[in-house]
Amino acid sequence: MRTALAILRKDLLLELRTLETIPSMAMLAVITCVIFHFGLNRNALSGQLAAGVLTVTLLFASMLGINRLFVAEREQGGFDAFLLAPVDRTAMLTAKATALFVYLLVLELIAVPAFALFLAPPHLGSSLPGVILILVLSDIAFAVIGTFVSAIAVQTRARDLIGPMIGLPLLLPALIATARGLGPLLTVQASGSPPAKWLAVLGLYDLVNALLAYAVFDFLLED
C-alpha cells in the first residue's frame, strides 16, 4: 500500500508540474462538444442523444490519458527501477489506476460543465447526484481497463494505435451502461434517480475487470 501511495504521489506530482495529460484531455473534451454542435447542428441536446454525446466525449478524452499513462515509465526507466525494488508488483496497477481515476475526475470537472454550457438543456439540478454516481462508476471501469490496456500497449511498437484498438471494444459494455444510465437523467423532465439496472451493470463490470486486471497484471511487468 505504501508503494502504491508513493507511485501515485509521484504521478500526480509529475502531472502537476508538467501539466501534460489533463489539459490536453480537457481541451479534447471541449473541442469535441463544439464538433458535436456542428456535426449534429443542434444548440441543445436532451435525453439519450445528450447522454451518448457526453459519454463518447469522455471516452475519447480518456483515450488520451490512457495512451500517456505509462509512457514516462517506459522512456525514463521507471519500469526497470520498479522491477529492481523488492515490492509487490500489483502496487503499480493500484497506483496507475488511481492516478487515471483522478485524471478522469478532473477531466469531468471541466468537461461536464462545458457540456452543460454548450449542449445540454437547462434545469439539470435534480438529477445531478445520479449523473455524478454514474460517472464515478464509469470512471472506475475506464481507469481499470485503461491501465491494463495502457500497460500492454506501451510495450508495443505502435503503442498509440494498439491502445485505442484494444481499449475501445473492451470499454464498450461500460459505454453502453453509462450512456443508457445517463439517458433518463438528461431528459427535460428527469425524475432524478438513475436506473438501478445500469448502476448494477457498471458496478459488476468494475468489479470483474478489477479482479481480472489484478490476476494478470503481474505478467505484464515481468522481465
Partner: protein, 242 residues
C-alpha cells in the same frame, strides 16, 4: 511426430464423415421452414459457426492461462491457433448470419438484436489480437502479452453478451435455452449434428495449423543444425509464434 499431430488422420476422417452427414441431414432430412422456406437452411451453418467461434475464443483464453502458468511455448501455439481459427470461423458466421437475417428479418444488419451486436463487438476485439502480436518483437514477450490479452478477452466474451443482452429486447429465436429451444425434433437433430460437425472441423483445422507451424519450426531447427546458421535466412517479424 509431436503429440498434437498424433490423431490428425482419424480426426480428419471423423470430420469429413460428420460434415457430410450433417449436410445430408440439412438438405434432405430437415423439414422446410413454414415461413422462411429454403433459405432457413443456412441457419444450420451460421449458428454452429457462431457458437464454435465463441467457444474458440474462450478456448484461446484457457490456453492462455496454460501459458501463463507453465511458460511452455506449446500453450502459446495452442492459444494462437485457437484464436486464429475462431476469428476465421466468426467472420464466416457473421457473413452467413447476415444472409440469414436478410432472408428472415429483411435486413442485412439489425441493431436491436443483442446476440448480433455482442458478437460483432467480440469480433472487433479479437481482430486486434494479431496486430498486437505483430507489434511486439521479442518472441517471449509477444507470447506473454498475447496470453494476457487472450485471458482477459476470453473472460470478456460472456460478460459482453450479458451486458449487450440487457440493453435490448429479444428478437433472435433462442436456440440453446434451457428448454432446448422450440425446434421440432428433426430440426433439432440436424442442428446438433451440424454443431458437432463444425466443432470437429474447428478442432481439425486448428490441429493442422499447429502441425504446419510446428513442422516449419522443426525444419528450420534441422536446417540450422545441418547447414549452419548462414544457410537460413533470418526470420521476418511475424504475428505467429515461431
Amino acid at each position: 511426430m509431436t503429440t498434437h499431430v498424433r490423431h490428425l488422420r482419424s480426426l480428419s476422417i471423423a470430420t469429413v464423415v460428420l460434415l457430410t452427414a450433417s449436410l445430408i441431414l440439412v438438405f434432405f432430412y430437415a423439414p422446410l421452414d413454414a415461413e422462411q422456406g429454403f433459405v432457413q437452411k443456412i441457419f444450420y451453418i451460421h449458428v454452429p459457426l457462431a457458437i464454435v467461434s465463441l467457444g474458440g475464443f474462450i478456448l484461446g483464453g484457457l490456453f492462455g492461462v496454460g501459458y501463463l502458468r507453465t511458460g511452455k511455448r506449446i500453450w502459446d501455439m495452442r492459444s494462437y491457433c485457437a484464436i486464429h481459427m475462431a476469428l476465421i470461423f466468426s467472420i464466416g458466421g457473421l457473413l452467413a448470419g447476415s444472409i440469414w437475417a436478410k432472408a428472415s428479418w429483411g435486413h442485412w444488419w439489425v441493431w436491436s438484436e443483442p446476440t448480433l451486436v455482442s458478437y460483432l463487438i467480440v469480433i472487433l476485439l479479437f481482430c486486434t489480437y494479431q496486430p498486437l502480436r505483430f507489434s511486439i518483437e521479442d518472441p517471449e514477450r509477444q507470447a506473454r502479452y498475447a496470453a494476457v490479452f487472450s485471458v482477459v478477452c476470453g473472460a470478456f466474451v460472456p460478460i459482453n453478451f450479458i451486458v449487450v443482452r440487457l440493453s435490448a429486447e429479444y428478437l433472435h429465436p433462442r436456440v440453446l435455452n434451457l428448454e432446448g429451444g422450440n425446434m421440432p425434433g428433426p430440426m433439432k437433430l440436424t442442428f446438433y449434428t451440424s454443431l458437432v460437425a463444425i466443432a470437429l472441423l474447428f478442432a481439425t483445422l486448428m490441429r493442422y495449423e499447429m502441425a504446419a507451424k510446428e513442422t516449419r519450426i522443426q525444419t528450420r531447427r534441422l536446417r540450422r543444425a545441418l547447414m549452419g546458421d548462414d544457410a537460413i535466412r533470418p526470420l521476418g517479424r511475424s504475428a505467429a509464434p515461431q
